[in-house]
Amino acid sequence: MKFVDEFRDPELGRVLATQIVGTVEPGRRYKVMEVCGGHTHTIYKYGVDDLLPENVELVHGPGCPVCVIPMGRVDDAIAVAKRPGVIFTCFGDMLRVPGGKETLLDAKAQGADVRMVYSPLDALRIAREHPEREVVFLAIGFETTAPSTALTLVRAKRERLTNFSVLCNHVTILPPLRALLESPDLRLDGFIGPGHVCTVIGARPFEFVPRDYGKPVVISGFEPLDVLQSVHMVLRQVAEARCEVENQYTRVVPHDGNAAALKVLAEVFELRPHFEWRGLGFISHSALRLAPAYADFDAELRYDVPGVRVADPKACQCGEVLKGVIKPWECKVFGTACTPERPIGTCMVSSEGACAAYYNYGRFAREREVV
């Protein structure tokens, strides 16, 4: 398929890998963080890290929307899902995210009407088909996903649907990135930026990273050669003592984002004063809630949710993984007590989570190294 096959060309990959070797200084160690879980998945699925020199390390960042949802918010979702008459809809990965005591899948097994959907539009269709039921959509995701929820709510309002609401957990990528950059235990040489978030907000909002923190950013696509080329672009900036935002993903990312998307986001959502991120704690202005004009569709206002903060399990080190402080396999319970089948932490739930991606792909390479 055009725009896919050419970005998986093994010969071009080998050329890029050779160029990367020629860019780095022997004896110096480099750390580059991929912010987005989609990149983490690509890196492990295609073995991108195996093509890098030994002194170039990829660190996995907080850009998996499932992984950063705190357990208390999952409990809120389960409380709404268990209400009589509610059809609770969500994306597939959220079904298995552990709350304080159980998952949405457990609630479904106990009789709650929990349904997996591929888009908020599917949830809206269910609401139209079941006017006698209350249909709730659990909205998660970064700026890539938020426009879809916003457009769905615009449709719901236009159609005057009264049995549809949204439990909003949309988050924004820039505040946690700033929080990471403020972290004293973070040692990074640059960032691979989230390409599809940038189709919405553009590359421009990332300019604070080189300006205020002296770190290069390369906005990247998601095919393996996209990621490999982006790593090369970051390392080339370091080698040439440059520090700026570069756009590797020019085939879809405009510098100023998508004006229509930004407009509908501003109409439907407003920033929350604070939001808890799993592993990162409370970060100001880092999440969205429904604007007053859409209050009738706000499940948090419509239903009584517990809103209780739940501490992460002591054995779980998702926080350190999300900050890139430790690698997934360095967690005490990785691959033993915590597996994709029975996850303790959220990083093991979504395949975009660093632990699940590493469990599914990377551990085999590590086993080879150990042998």
Partner: protein
């Protein structure tokens, strides 16, 4: 596009390239990709025409691939 597979595109910051098959008059387009056919909201990239390739995430076209 199944969440039962190893990869759930909806939950990630990932989008699929899909080709416009039919443009409807309600802001939706029927689009085809590797995983089948789906209704897609095209408000963010309108107007679209049959044959164009869109980048689709969670039922919404977030960009036109060019």
């Amino acid at each position: 596009m199944s969440c039962d597979d190893a990869h759930c595109v909806t939950c990630a910051d990932e989008a699929l390239a899909m080709r416009v098959v039919e443009v409807r008059d309600d802001g939706l387009a029927v689009c085809a990709g590797d995983d089948g056919v789906a209704d897609v909201m095209t408000d963010l990239v309108a107007p679209v025409a049959p044959g164009e390739t869109l980048l689709v995430h969670a039922g919404t076209a977030i960009a036109r691939v060019a």
